[in-house]
Protein backbone atom coordinates (compact mmCIF):
# COMPACT_ATOMS: atom_id res chain seq x y z
CA UNK A 1 0.00 0.00 0.00
CA UNK A 2 2.79 2.43 0.93
CA UNK A 3 4.40 1.52 -2.39
CA UNK A 4 1.33 2.74 -4.29
CA UNK A 5 1.23 5.96 -2.25
CA UNK A 6 4.93 6.55 -3.01
CA UNK A 7 4.26 5.93 -6.72
CA UNK A 8 1.39 8.43 -6.73
CA UNK A 9 3.59 10.93 -4.92
CA UNK A 10 6.48 10.51 -7.36
CA UNK A 11 4.03 10.87 -10.31
CA UNK A 12 2.83 14.24 -9.03
CA UNK A 13 6.38 15.37 -8.20
CA UNK A 14 7.31 14.44 -11.77
CA UNK A 15 4.46 16.62 -13.06
CA UNK A 16 5.64 19.52 -10.88
CA UNK A 17 9.20 19.26 -12.21
CA UNK A 18 7.95 18.83 -15.79
CA UNK A 19 6.42 22.31 -15.69
CA UNK A 20 9.47 23.97 -14.06
CA UNK A 21 12.88 25.19 -15.40
CA UNK A 22 11.96 25.41 -19.05
CA UNK A 23 14.25 24.31 -21.86
CA UNK A 24 15.41 26.96 -24.33
CA UNK A 25 12.42 27.96 -26.48
CA UNK A 26 13.97 27.27 -29.91
CA UNK A 27 15.01 23.76 -28.80
CA UNK A 28 11.61 23.10 -27.23
CA UNK A 29 9.84 24.08 -30.46
CA UNK A 30 11.86 21.53 -32.42
CA UNK A 31 11.22 18.84 -29.80
CA UNK A 32 7.45 19.45 -29.90
CA UNK A 33 7.38 19.19 -33.70
CA UNK A 34 9.38 15.97 -33.53
CA UNK A 35 7.00 14.52 -30.93
CA UNK A 36 3.97 15.48 -33.05
CA UNK A 37 5.59 13.61 -35.93
CA UNK A 38 6.43 10.53 -33.80
CA UNK A 39 3.30 10.32 -31.64
CA UNK A 40 0.53 11.81 -33.77
CA UNK A 41 1.45 11.58 -37.46
CA UNK A 42 3.08 8.20 -36.90
CA UNK A 43 -0.16 6.83 -35.44
CA UNK A 44 -2.53 7.94 -38.20
CA UNK A 45 -2.12 4.79 -40.31
CA UNK A 46 -3.15 2.37 -37.56
CA UNK A 47 -5.95 4.72 -36.41
CA UNK A 48 -7.45 4.86 -39.92
CA UNK A 49 -7.15 1.09 -40.40
CA UNK A 50 -8.72 0.12 -37.05
CA UNK A 51 -11.45 2.79 -37.15
CA UNK A 52 -12.57 1.83 -40.65
CA UNK A 53 -12.98 -1.86 -39.88
CA UNK A 54 -14.42 -1.45 -36.37
CA UNK A 55 -16.99 1.01 -37.81
CA UNK A 56 -17.85 -1.62 -40.41
CA UNK A 57 -18.22 -4.36 -37.79
CA UNK A 58 -20.50 -2.19 -35.58
CA UNK A 59 -22.71 -1.50 -38.57
CA UNK A 60 -22.92 -5.17 -39.63
CA UNK A 61 -23.53 -6.47 -36.09
CA UNK A 62 -26.27 -3.92 -35.46
CA UNK A 63 -27.90 -4.81 -38.78
CA UNK A 64 -27.81 -8.54 -38.01
CA UNK A 65 -29.42 -7.98 -34.61
CA UNK A 66 -32.21 -5.76 -35.92
CA UNK A 67 -34.49 -8.26 -37.61
CA UNK A 68 -37.78 -6.89 -36.21
CA UNK A 69 -39.59 -5.01 -39.05
CA UNK A 70 -41.02 -2.49 -36.52
CA UNK A 71 -37.53 -1.17 -35.78
CA UNK A 72 -36.46 1.27 -38.48
CA UNK A 73 -33.33 0.46 -40.49
CA UNK A 74 -31.99 3.93 -39.70
CA UNK A 75 -31.17 2.52 -36.24
CA UNK A 76 -28.04 1.02 -37.83
CA UNK A 77 -26.68 4.48 -38.65
CA UNK A 78 -27.80 5.82 -35.28
CA UNK A 79 -26.14 2.97 -33.33
CA UNK A 80 -22.95 3.22 -35.37
CA UNK A 81 -22.72 6.97 -34.71
CA UNK A 82 -23.43 6.67 -30.99
CA UNK A 83 -21.03 3.75 -30.43
CA UNK A 84 -18.22 5.44 -32.31
CA UNK A 85 -18.61 8.97 -30.94
CA UNK A 86 -19.32 8.03 -27.34
CA UNK A 87 -17.01 5.10 -26.74
CA UNK A 88 -15.05 3.56 -29.57
CA UNK A 89 -13.18 6.62 -30.85
CA UNK A 90 -12.33 8.36 -27.58
CA UNK A 91 -11.93 5.45 -25.16
CA UNK A 92 -10.94 2.36 -27.11
CA UNK A 93 -8.75 4.24 -29.54
CA UNK A 94 -6.96 5.74 -26.51
CA UNK A 95 -6.40 2.24 -25.11
CA UNK A 96 -5.02 1.13 -28.47
CA UNK A 97 -2.76 4.21 -28.41
CA UNK A 98 -1.64 3.22 -24.89
CA UNK A 99 -0.21 0.12 -26.57
CA UNK A 100 1.41 1.96 -29.44
CA UNK A 101 2.33 5.44 -28.22
CA UNK A 102 2.58 4.55 -24.49
CA UNK A 103 4.99 1.66 -25.04
CA UNK A 104 7.06 3.83 -27.38
CA UNK A 105 7.30 6.62 -24.79
CA UNK A 106 8.22 4.24 -21.95
CA UNK A 107 10.80 2.31 -23.94
CA UNK A 108 12.45 5.42 -25.41
CA UNK A 109 12.71 7.20 -22.03
CA UNK A 110 13.62 3.92 -20.28
CA UNK A 111 16.44 3.27 -22.76
CA UNK A 112 17.72 6.79 -22.13
CA UNK A 113 17.69 6.06 -18.39
CA UNK A 114 19.58 2.75 -18.84
CA UNK A 115 22.23 4.29 -21.10
CA UNK A 116 22.76 7.29 -18.77
CA UNK A 117 21.45 9.77 -21.36
CA UNK A 118 19.09 11.23 -18.72
CA UNK A 119 22.03 11.61 -16.30
CA UNK A 120 23.92 13.37 -19.11
CA UNK A 121 21.07 15.90 -19.44
CA UNK A 122 20.96 16.46 -15.66
CA UNK A 123 24.74 16.91 -15.41
CA UNK A 124 24.53 19.56 -18.13
CA UNK A 125 22.03 21.44 -15.95
CA UNK A 126 19.02 20.65 -18.13
CA UNK A 127 15.68 19.85 -16.50
CA UNK A 128 15.42 16.40 -18.09
CA UNK A 129 11.70 16.08 -17.29
CA UNK A 130 10.88 19.34 -19.01
CA UNK A 131 13.10 18.37 -21.95
CA UNK A 132 11.61 14.88 -22.33
CA UNK A 133 8.04 14.94 -21.03
CA UNK A 134 6.73 18.47 -21.66
CA UNK A 135 7.01 18.20 -25.49
CA UNK A 136 5.07 14.92 -25.33
CA UNK A 137 2.26 16.54 -23.34
CA UNK A 138 2.03 19.41 -25.84
CA UNK A 139 2.21 17.04 -28.82
CA UNK A 140 -0.62 14.97 -27.40
CA UNK A 141 -2.81 18.07 -27.27
CA UNK A 142 -3.24 17.19 -30.97
CA UNK A 143 -4.72 13.85 -29.91
CA UNK A 144 -8.34 15.11 -30.29
CA UNK A 145 -7.61 15.54 -34.03
CA UNK A 146 -6.70 11.86 -34.18
CA UNK A 147 -9.94 10.98 -32.39
CA UNK A 148 -11.95 13.24 -34.72
CA UNK A 149 -10.37 11.39 -37.64
CA UNK A 150 -11.21 8.04 -35.98
CA UNK A 151 -14.87 9.17 -35.64
CA UNK A 152 -15.07 10.21 -39.28
CA UNK A 153 -13.35 7.09 -40.66
CA UNK A 154 -15.32 4.80 -38.32
CA UNK A 155 -18.64 6.22 -39.52
CA UNK A 156 -17.45 5.96 -43.16
CA UNK A 157 -16.52 2.31 -42.50
CA UNK A 158 -19.98 1.70 -41.03
CA UNK A 159 -21.67 3.38 -43.98
CA UNK A 160 -19.69 1.41 -46.59
CA UNK A 161 -20.12 -1.93 -44.79
CA UNK A 162 -23.85 -1.31 -44.27
CA UNK A 163 -24.59 -0.08 -47.78
CA UNK A 164 -22.29 -2.37 -49.80
CA UNK A 165 -23.12 -5.35 -47.53
CA UNK A 166 -26.75 -4.89 -48.51
CA UNK A 167 -27.98 -4.26 -44.97
CA UNK A 168 -29.21 -0.68 -45.37
CA UNK A 169 -29.60 2.04 -47.96
CA UNK A 170 -27.45 5.14 -48.06
CA UNK A 171 -30.51 7.31 -47.31
CA UNK A 172 -31.52 5.27 -44.24
CA UNK A 173 -27.98 5.25 -42.88
CA UNK A 174 -27.52 9.01 -43.20
CA UNK A 175 -30.98 9.57 -41.72
CA UNK A 176 -29.91 7.45 -38.74
CA UNK A 177 -26.69 9.44 -38.42
CA UNK A 178 -28.69 12.67 -38.05
CA UNK A 179 -31.39 11.23 -35.76
CA UNK A 180 -31.58 12.71 -32.22
CA UNK A 181 -28.08 14.12 -32.56
CA UNK A 182 -26.86 15.68 -29.30
CA UNK A 183 -23.94 18.06 -29.94
CA UNK A 184 -23.01 17.74 -26.25
CA UNK A 185 -21.99 14.14 -26.92
CA UNK A 186 -19.17 15.48 -29.07
CA UNK A 187 -18.17 17.91 -26.32
CA UNK A 188 -18.20 15.00 -23.85
CA UNK A 189 -16.10 12.86 -26.19
CA UNK A 190 -13.48 15.59 -26.66
CA UNK A 191 -13.30 16.43 -22.95
CA UNK A 192 -12.57 12.73 -22.36
CA UNK A 193 -9.99 12.78 -25.11
CA UNK A 194 -8.03 15.64 -23.53
CA UNK A 195 -7.93 13.80 -20.20
CA UNK A 196 -6.87 10.55 -21.89
CA UNK A 197 -4.18 12.40 -23.87
CA UNK A 198 -2.70 13.75 -20.63
CA UNK A 199 -2.71 10.23 -19.14
CA UNK A 200 -1.15 8.87 -22.36
CA UNK A 201 1.68 11.39 -22.23
CA UNK A 202 2.47 11.31 -18.51
CA UNK A 203 1.94 7.77 -17.18
CA UNK A 204 4.25 6.06 -19.73
CA UNK A 205 6.79 8.87 -19.23
CA UNK A 206 6.69 8.28 -15.47
CA UNK A 207 7.16 4.52 -15.97
CA UNK A 208 10.17 5.07 -18.23
CA UNK A 209 11.77 7.89 -16.25
CA UNK A 210 11.77 6.14 -12.88
CA UNK A 211 12.60 2.63 -14.10
CA UNK A 212 15.66 0.90 -12.67
CA UNK A 213 17.76 -1.86 -14.17
CA UNK A 214 18.68 -2.87 -17.70
CA UNK A 215 17.17 -3.86 -21.03
CA UNK A 216 14.87 -6.50 -19.51
CA UNK A 217 13.40 -3.91 -17.13
CA UNK A 218 12.73 -1.59 -20.08
CA UNK A 219 10.48 -4.33 -21.51
CA UNK A 220 8.77 -4.82 -18.15
CA UNK A 221 8.27 -1.08 -17.75
CA UNK A 222 6.65 -0.93 -21.22
CA UNK A 223 4.21 -3.68 -20.25
CA UNK A 224 3.43 -1.98 -16.91
CA UNK A 225 2.99 1.27 -18.74
CA UNK A 226 0.33 -0.24 -21.02
CA UNK A 227 -1.49 -1.86 -18.08
CA UNK A 228 -1.53 1.28 -15.90
CA UNK A 229 -2.37 3.65 -18.73
CA UNK A 230 -5.31 1.43 -19.74
CA UNK A 231 -6.53 1.11 -16.14
CA UNK A 232 -6.38 4.87 -15.61
CA UNK A 233 -8.14 5.56 -18.93
CA UNK A 234 -10.96 3.18 -18.00
CA UNK A 235 -11.29 4.73 -14.51
CA UNK A 236 -11.19 8.28 -15.90
CA UNK A 237 -13.80 7.26 -18.49
CA UNK A 238 -16.12 6.06 -15.74
CA UNK A 239 -15.69 9.20 -13.64
CA UNK A 240 -16.10 11.62 -16.56
CA UNK A 241 -19.18 9.76 -17.80
CA UNK A 242 -20.72 9.92 -14.34
CA UNK A 243 -19.97 13.63 -14.08
CA UNK A 244 -21.04 14.70 -17.56
CA UNK A 245 -23.77 12.33 -18.69
CA UNK A 246 -25.61 10.95 -15.70
Amino acid sequence: MTGYIEDIGSYFLMLKRTFGSFTKRSVLKELILKEIDDLIIGSLGIVVFISFFVGGVISIQTALNVSNPIIPKSLIGFATRQSIILEFAPTFMSIIMAGKVGSFITSSIGSMRVTEQIDALEVMGINSLNYLVFPKIIALLCFPFVIALAMFIGICGGLLAGVYGGFITYTDFTAGLQEDFEPFHLVYAFIKTFVFAFILATVPSWQGYYMKGGALEVGKASTNSFVWTSVLIILANFIITQLLLS
Binding site: S21, T23, K24, S26, V27, S111, M112, T115, E116, Q117, D119, A120, E122, V123, M124, G125, I126
Partner: protein
Amino acid sequence: MIKVDNIKKRFGEEEILKGISTVFHKGKTNLIIGQSGSGKTVMLKCLLGLFKPEEGLIYYEEKAIQHMNEEQQRDLREEIGMLFQGGALFDSMNIEENVMFPLRMFTKQKKSEMLDRVNEVLSRVNLEGVNKKYPAEISGGMQKRVSIARAIVNRPKYLFCDEPNSGLDPKTATVIDNLIQEITHEFDITTVVVTHDMNSVMEIGENIVFLKNGVLVWQGNNTDIFNTDNVDVTDFVYSSDLFKKIREIQLKER
Protein backbone atom coordinates in the same frame (compact mmCIF):
# COMPACT_ATOMS: atom_id res chain seq x y z
CA MET B 1 39.91 23.11 -7.60
CA ILE B 2 37.28 20.99 -5.88
CA LYS B 3 37.41 20.49 -2.12
CA VAL B 4 35.49 17.71 -0.41
CA ASP B 5 34.91 18.18 3.30
CA ASN B 6 33.83 15.18 5.37
CA ILE B 7 31.02 13.93 3.10
CA LYS B 8 28.79 11.09 4.21
CA LYS B 9 26.22 9.37 2.03
CA ARG B 10 23.72 6.73 3.09
CA PHE B 11 21.24 4.58 1.19
CA GLY B 12 18.74 3.40 3.78
CA GLU B 13 20.69 1.88 6.65
CA GLU B 14 23.84 1.38 4.60
CA GLU B 15 26.50 4.08 4.78
CA ILE B 16 28.30 4.20 1.43
CA LEU B 17 30.62 7.17 2.01
CA LYS B 18 31.90 7.45 5.58
CA GLY B 19 33.28 10.96 5.93
CA ILE B 20 35.60 11.64 3.00
CA SER B 21 37.76 14.77 2.85
CA THR B 22 40.14 15.55 -0.01
CA VAL B 23 41.11 18.09 -2.66
CA PHE B 24 41.04 17.65 -6.44
CA HIS B 25 43.59 19.98 -8.01
CA LYS B 26 43.24 22.26 -11.01
CA GLY B 27 45.30 21.34 -14.09
CA LYS B 28 45.78 17.78 -12.87
CA THR B 29 44.15 14.45 -13.61
CA ASN B 30 42.71 13.41 -10.26
CA LEU B 31 41.81 9.73 -10.01
CA ILE B 32 39.35 8.05 -7.65
CA ILE B 33 40.26 4.37 -7.50
CA GLY B 34 39.18 1.36 -5.48
CA GLN B 35 37.50 -1.99 -5.82
CA SER B 36 33.91 -2.44 -6.99
CA GLY B 37 31.55 -1.33 -4.24
CA SER B 38 34.09 0.99 -2.60
CA GLY B 39 31.91 4.06 -3.24
CA LYS B 40 33.73 5.58 -6.25
CA THR B 41 30.66 6.15 -8.42
CA VAL B 42 28.58 7.39 -5.45
CA MET B 43 31.33 9.89 -4.70
CA LEU B 44 31.40 11.02 -8.33
CA LYS B 45 27.62 11.46 -8.32
CA CYS B 46 27.89 13.50 -5.10
CA LEU B 47 30.52 15.71 -6.76
CA LEU B 48 28.19 16.18 -9.73
CA GLY B 49 25.26 17.04 -7.48
CA LEU B 50 23.25 14.03 -8.69
CA PHE B 51 23.30 12.64 -5.12
CA LYS B 52 23.00 14.85 -2.05
CA PRO B 53 25.31 13.81 0.80
CA GLU B 54 23.65 13.63 4.23
CA GLU B 55 26.64 15.38 5.79
CA GLY B 56 29.66 17.36 4.62
CA LEU B 57 30.27 20.00 1.96
CA ILE B 58 31.64 20.00 -1.58
CA TYR B 59 33.35 23.25 -2.62
CA TYR B 60 33.81 24.31 -6.21
CA GLU B 61 36.57 26.91 -5.80
CA GLU B 62 35.31 28.81 -2.74
CA LYS B 63 31.58 28.07 -2.90
CA ALA B 64 29.90 24.96 -1.46
CA ILE B 65 27.48 23.30 -3.89
CA GLN B 66 25.07 22.73 -0.98
CA HIS B 67 24.90 26.50 -0.38
CA MET B 68 24.17 27.36 -4.01
CA ASN B 69 20.63 28.19 -5.11
CA GLU B 70 19.08 26.42 -8.11
CA GLU B 71 20.27 29.04 -10.58
CA GLN B 72 23.84 28.98 -9.25
CA GLN B 73 23.83 25.17 -9.48
CA ARG B 74 22.61 25.40 -13.08
CA ASP B 75 25.37 27.89 -13.88
CA LEU B 76 27.91 25.57 -12.29
CA ARG B 77 26.69 22.63 -14.35
CA GLU B 78 27.30 24.62 -17.52
CA GLU B 79 30.96 24.65 -16.46
CA ILE B 80 31.04 20.86 -16.07
CA GLY B 81 31.88 18.35 -18.80
CA MET B 82 31.15 14.69 -18.21
CA LEU B 83 32.34 11.52 -19.90
CA PHE B 84 30.00 8.68 -18.98
CA GLN B 85 30.99 5.02 -18.80
CA GLY B 86 28.96 4.09 -21.87
CA GLY B 87 29.42 7.45 -23.60
CA ALA B 88 25.76 8.44 -23.03
CA LEU B 89 25.51 9.90 -26.52
CA PHE B 90 21.97 10.73 -27.62
CA ASP B 91 20.88 7.91 -29.97
CA SER B 92 18.45 10.10 -31.87
CA MET B 93 21.13 12.65 -32.83
CA ASN B 94 24.08 12.30 -35.18
CA ILE B 95 27.62 12.97 -33.99
CA GLU B 96 27.56 16.63 -35.03
CA GLU B 97 24.24 17.23 -33.22
CA ASN B 98 25.50 15.39 -30.13
CA VAL B 99 28.62 17.53 -29.87
CA MET B 100 26.70 20.71 -30.71
CA PHE B 101 24.05 19.99 -28.06
CA PRO B 102 25.61 21.96 -25.13
CA LEU B 103 26.23 24.93 -27.44
CA ARG B 104 22.62 24.92 -28.63
CA MET B 105 21.35 24.71 -25.07
CA PHE B 106 23.57 27.31 -23.42
CA THR B 107 24.87 29.75 -26.01
CA LYS B 108 23.37 32.16 -28.49
CA GLN B 109 25.93 31.40 -31.20
CA LYS B 110 24.99 31.25 -34.87
CA LYS B 111 24.81 27.80 -36.41
CA SER B 112 27.95 28.42 -38.50
CA GLU B 113 29.91 29.39 -35.36
CA MET B 114 28.68 26.31 -33.55
CA LEU B 115 29.65 24.12 -36.51
CA ASP B 116 33.16 25.60 -36.54
CA ARG B 117 33.55 24.84 -32.83
CA VAL B 118 32.18 21.28 -33.29
CA ASN B 119 34.67 20.61 -36.08
CA GLU B 120 37.45 22.09 -33.95
CA VAL B 121 36.79 19.77 -30.98
CA LEU B 122 36.16 16.73 -33.17
CA SER B 123 39.51 17.34 -34.80
CA ARG B 124 41.06 17.77 -31.28
CA VAL B 125 39.91 14.25 -30.39
CA ASN B 126 41.17 12.99 -33.77
CA LEU B 127 37.74 12.36 -35.23
CA GLU B 128 37.06 13.84 -38.62
CA GLY B 129 34.51 12.92 -41.26
CA VAL B 130 32.06 11.27 -38.87
CA ASN B 131 29.79 14.31 -38.38
CA LYS B 132 26.73 12.81 -40.01
CA LYS B 133 27.06 9.31 -38.55
CA TYR B 134 24.89 8.12 -35.66
CA PRO B 135 26.36 6.75 -32.39
CA ALA B 136 25.31 3.19 -33.30
CA GLU B 137 27.38 3.43 -36.51
CA ILE B 138 30.75 4.07 -34.84
CA SER B 139 32.98 1.96 -32.56
CA GLY B 140 33.05 2.11 -28.74
CA GLY B 141 36.38 3.97 -28.75
CA MET B 142 35.05 6.53 -31.21
CA GLN B 143 31.93 6.96 -29.08
CA LYS B 144 34.16 7.73 -26.08
CA ARG B 145 36.04 10.31 -28.13
CA VAL B 146 32.78 11.91 -29.28
CA SER B 147 31.70 11.98 -25.65
CA ILE B 148 34.95 13.77 -24.73
CA ALA B 149 34.35 16.23 -27.58
CA ARG B 150 30.84 16.92 -26.27
CA ALA B 151 32.21 17.33 -22.74
CA ILE B 152 34.78 19.97 -23.75
CA VAL B 153 32.87 21.79 -26.50
CA ASN B 154 31.54 24.44 -24.11
CA ARG B 155 35.00 25.03 -22.58
CA PRO B 156 34.29 23.53 -19.13
CA LYS B 157 36.29 24.27 -16.00
CA TYR B 158 35.71 20.78 -14.63
CA LEU B 159 35.83 17.43 -16.44
CA PHE B 160 34.48 14.24 -14.87
CA CYS B 161 35.06 10.79 -16.34
CA ASP B 162 33.34 7.61 -15.13
CA GLU B 163 35.36 4.50 -16.05
CA PRO B 164 36.54 6.00 -19.37
CA ASN B 165 38.30 2.77 -20.40
CA SER B 166 35.61 0.21 -19.70
CA GLY B 167 34.94 -2.01 -22.70
CA LEU B 168 37.94 -0.74 -24.68
CA ASP B 169 40.99 -2.64 -25.91
CA PRO B 170 44.29 -1.67 -24.16
CA LYS B 171 45.55 0.41 -27.10
CA THR B 172 42.35 2.44 -27.44
CA ALA B 173 42.18 2.76 -23.65
CA THR B 174 45.66 4.32 -23.65
CA VAL B 175 44.61 6.74 -26.41
CA ILE B 176 41.60 7.83 -24.32
CA ASP B 177 43.74 8.18 -21.16
CA ASN B 178 46.31 10.30 -22.96
CA LEU B 179 43.59 12.42 -24.52
CA ILE B 180 42.05 13.12 -21.10
CA GLN B 181 45.45 14.12 -19.67
CA GLU B 182 46.36 16.30 -22.67
CA ILE B 183 43.02 18.12 -22.49
CA THR B 184 43.43 18.64 -18.73
CA HIS B 185 46.83 20.29 -19.18
CA GLU B 186 45.95 22.14 -22.39
CA PHE B 187 42.83 23.82 -20.97
CA ASP B 188 44.04 23.91 -17.32
CA ILE B 189 40.89 22.27 -16.00
CA THR B 190 40.14 20.17 -12.93
CA THR B 191 39.67 16.58 -14.09
CA VAL B 192 38.30 13.80 -11.90
CA VAL B 193 38.45 10.25 -13.27
CA VAL B 194 36.80 7.26 -11.59
CA THR B 195 38.56 4.06 -12.58
CA HIS B 196 39.78 0.68 -11.39
CA ASP B 197 42.09 0.26 -14.34
CA MET B 198 45.73 0.07 -13.22
CA ASN B 199 47.00 1.12 -16.65
CA SER B 200 45.11 4.40 -16.24
CA VAL B 201 46.60 4.79 -12.77
CA MET B 202 50.09 4.39 -14.24
CA GLU B 203 49.45 6.60 -17.28
CA ILE B 204 47.60 9.59 -15.87
CA GLY B 205 47.42 9.37 -12.06
CA GLU B 206 48.74 12.76 -10.97
CA ASN B 207 46.62 12.80 -7.81
CA ILE B 208 45.13 9.48 -6.75
CA VAL B 209 42.45 8.99 -4.08
CA PHE B 210 42.05 5.37 -2.97
CA LEU B 211 38.71 4.36 -1.44
CA LYS B 212 37.89 1.22 0.47
CA ASN B 213 34.40 0.55 1.85
CA GLY B 214 33.56 4.24 1.64
CA VAL B 215 36.68 5.42 3.45
CA LEU B 216 39.63 7.30 1.95
CA VAL B 217 42.55 5.08 2.91
CA TRP B 218 45.36 6.52 0.81
CA GLN B 219 46.20 9.53 -1.39
CA GLY B 220 49.25 10.11 -3.59
CA ASN B 221 50.44 10.01 -7.21
CA ASN B 222 51.33 7.30 -9.72
CA THR B 223 54.90 7.05 -8.42
CA ASP B 224 53.95 6.92 -4.75
CA ILE B 225 51.42 4.15 -5.33
CA PHE B 226 54.14 1.65 -6.24
CA ASN B 227 56.18 2.51 -3.16
CA THR B 228 53.51 2.59 -0.49
CA ASP B 229 53.33 0.03 2.30
CA ASN B 230 49.58 0.51 2.74
CA VAL B 231 48.24 -3.05 2.65
CA ASP B 232 44.88 -2.10 1.12
CA VAL B 233 46.60 -0.29 -1.74
CA THR B 234 49.20 -2.99 -2.40
CA ASP B 235 46.44 -5.66 -2.37
CA PHE B 236 44.59 -3.68 -5.03
CA VAL B 237 47.61 -2.69 -7.14
CA TYR B 238 49.25 -6.12 -7.18
CA SER B 239 46.10 -8.16 -7.66
CA SER B 240 46.97 -8.94 -11.30
CA ASP B 241 49.78 -11.34 -12.29
CA LEU B 242 51.49 -8.66 -14.37
CA PHE B 243 51.78 -6.24 -11.48
CA LYS B 244 52.77 -9.07 -9.09
CA LYS B 245 55.75 -9.77 -11.39
CA ILE B 246 56.62 -6.08 -11.48
CA ARG B 247 56.49 -6.02 -7.67
CA GLU B 248 58.83 -9.04 -7.46
CA ILE B 249 61.34 -7.33 -9.78
CA GLN B 250 61.09 -4.10 -7.73
CA LEU B 251 61.73 -5.95 -4.48
CA LYS B 252 64.73 -7.79 -5.96
CA GLU B 253 66.17 -4.49 -7.20
CA ARG B 254 65.86 -3.05 -3.69
